[in-house]
Amino acid sequence: MSPPDRIDVVGGRSAIAGIGETVYGKNLGRSELDLACEAIVAACADAGFPVQEIDGIVSYHIEQVSEEAIVHALGIENCSFMARTTSGGGGAASIVGLAAVAVASGQAESVVAFRARNRSKGASYGGDPNQGGRPWEKAGRSVSGGNQWHHPFGVASPTHEMALIARRHMALFGTTAEQFGMQSVAQRFHASHNPRAIMRTPITLDDWHNARMIADPIRLVDCSLENDGATAILVTTPERARDLAQPPVTVLAQAMGAGPIHVALADYFRTSSSFDERDFAGRHIARQLFARAGLTPADVDVAAIFDHFTMAVPLSLEQYGFCGLGEGGPMIESGATRWPDGALPVNTHGGSNGEGFIHGANHVPEAVRQIRGTSTCQVVGAEVALVTGAISDPAGAVLLGRG
C-alpha cells in the first residue's frame, strides 16, 4: 500500500555549503571526538562559515560522540536542533535528509551532520565497549533481543547476514559472485585516482578470485574497510549558502523507509523472499524520493551507494529503479557502474572497500564534489547525484543537485 502523495516542503529548501573529512586510515590513535571536531571544523572552513554559528547537530543513532561533547568542544552556544537517524548504515544518507528537514522547516539555520569512527582492528581509544574493533565480536555469551536468533548458530557479523541475502539473490536470479567482484574492481579503480583513499592500488578480477573468502560468496575485497576517520557536512539555507565560499549543492529531496527485511536476521525474508517491493525499503524510498524531486532514475548522473559489501550495489540498483529486479548483476557486468564510461558511475571515490568506511557518511562529500565538478573521477557535467543508505535496513536516501 502506497502512502498518499503529499506536498513536499523540504526539497530545494536547503543546500550543502561545506564538506569536511579527516584522514581516513588505520589506527590513527585519536579519539572519535577529536576526529569529529576536525571534520566539522574542516566542513566549516570549506564553506567559509564560522564554526560557532552552527545551530543544529545531526548524526547516526549509534554515533558515540554526543551532541553535548561537540557543543562543549567547539563552543557552540546556540544549538537549537539535534536529531539522529535510524538503523546504523541505513541512516547514512539521512544525516543530510534530517539536516535538510531542520533547515527547510526553520528549526535551525545551519546544521552540521557528522559521523566519527574508530573501527580499526585493535583500536580501543576511549574505553567505551562500542569504540574500536568489531562490536559484534564483543557480544558475549549471554545474547538477548534479536541476537538470540542467530548468535547461537555462529551467525553474528554483518558479513554473515549479507552473505545469506546475497546467496538468495544468486539463487533466484542467477546473479554471480563474480558480478560482486566486478563492482569491487571498479571501486578500487576509482580509489586509485583518489588521494584520500586508503586502498590506492587497483585490483583485477583475478585478484578478487584469489582474495580469501570471508562468508561465501563474500570475499575480503568485497568488504568495507575497518578504519578510523570522521566526515562532516554543513547544511544551511540556500540564501546563506549562496554567500559562502563554495557553489551550493541543493538537497533536491530526501526520503526514508522501513522494509521488513533485516529484523536481526531471523525474519528478514518474511514470507515472500522474492526481493520484491515487499521486502526492502528501497522501492518505497525511491518512489517518494523521485516524486518529491520531480525526477526519475534516468536523471541521475552519478550515484554513491551504501556498500558495506559490494553485493549491496546490485541490490540497490534494482531497488532504486536503475534496472529491473534481478538485473543488478548484469548491469554491473556491463560496465555501467564504472567511471568514466559507465552510464551510472557508482562510488567514484572508491567506496567503502577503496576510500574507506565511515559508515557511508563519506559518500556524501563525494556526491557533493561531483556536483561541484571537483571529483577525482569526475562525471562530466554531473547535475544530479543520488546518495543511499544501506539496502538491508530501514533506510533513507537523498538526491543532490546544482544550487
Binding site: 545474547v143 536468533w149 547461537p152 561465501d216
Partner: protein, 140 residues
C-alpha cells in the same frame, strides 16, 4: 564446549520458544485471532496486530532459502569450527529461521534442499534447533 558459546537470554515473550526446544519440540507463536504463524517471537501479530497468540507445534520441516559458509573472522566461540555453514530455513508453515545444517558436506549445500529440525542439547539448560537434510540428500 567453548566457555563463551553464545546462549540465549530471552525475555518473557521469547522464552517459550527455547523452553519448547528444551523439550525437543519446535513450536512457533500462532495468532489466536487470524491464525498467522510468526517467528521470531514478538508481542503482536504483524498480520492483524492481535496480542493473543498460542505456542503451536509445527512440522519441523522446511526448505533451505539461503546458505553461507563462514570463515574467519567469526565469534570467538566458533573460531575452532571454521569453515562452518549457516542456513536460512523457510519452515513449511511460512516463517524463516537462521540455523545450521548438520550431516552435510558444505560443498553440497543448495537452495531448495528439504530439511528437518533436529534438537542438539548444548548442556543441561539449553537446546539448539538445528537441521538435517531429508530425502535423497540424507545419506550423510
Amino acid at each position: 564446549m567453548h566457555p563463551d558459546l553464545p546462549r540465549p537470554a530471552p525475555g518473557p515473550v521469547e522464552a517459550p520458544f527455547w523452553e519448547w526446544c528444551r523439550r525437543h519440540e519446535l513450536r512457533l507463536q500462532r495468532c489466536s485471532d487470524c491464525g498467522t504463524f510468526r517467528f521470531h517471537p514478538r508481542p503482536r501479530c504483524p498480520a492483524c496486530t492481535s496480542a493473543a497468540a498460542d505456542w503451536t507445534p509445527v512440522a519441523g520441516t522446511g526448505t533451505v532459502a539461503s546458505y553461507t559458509v563462514l570463515h574467519p573472522p567469526v565469534l570467538p566461540a566458533f573460531a575452532d569450527r571454521v569453515p562452518y555453514n549457516a542456513v536460512v530455513v523457510q519452515l513449511d508453515e511460512g516463517p524463516f529461521m537462521v540455523s545450521n545444517l548438520l550431516g552435510i558436506d558444505n560443498a553440497d549445500l543448495a537452495v531448495g534442499m528439504r530439511v528437518a529440525v533436529t534438537f542438539v542439547d548444548i548442556d543441561d539448560e539449553y537446546t539448539l534447533p538445528q537441521f538435517r537434510p531429508v530425502g535423497a540428500e540424507a545419506a550423510a
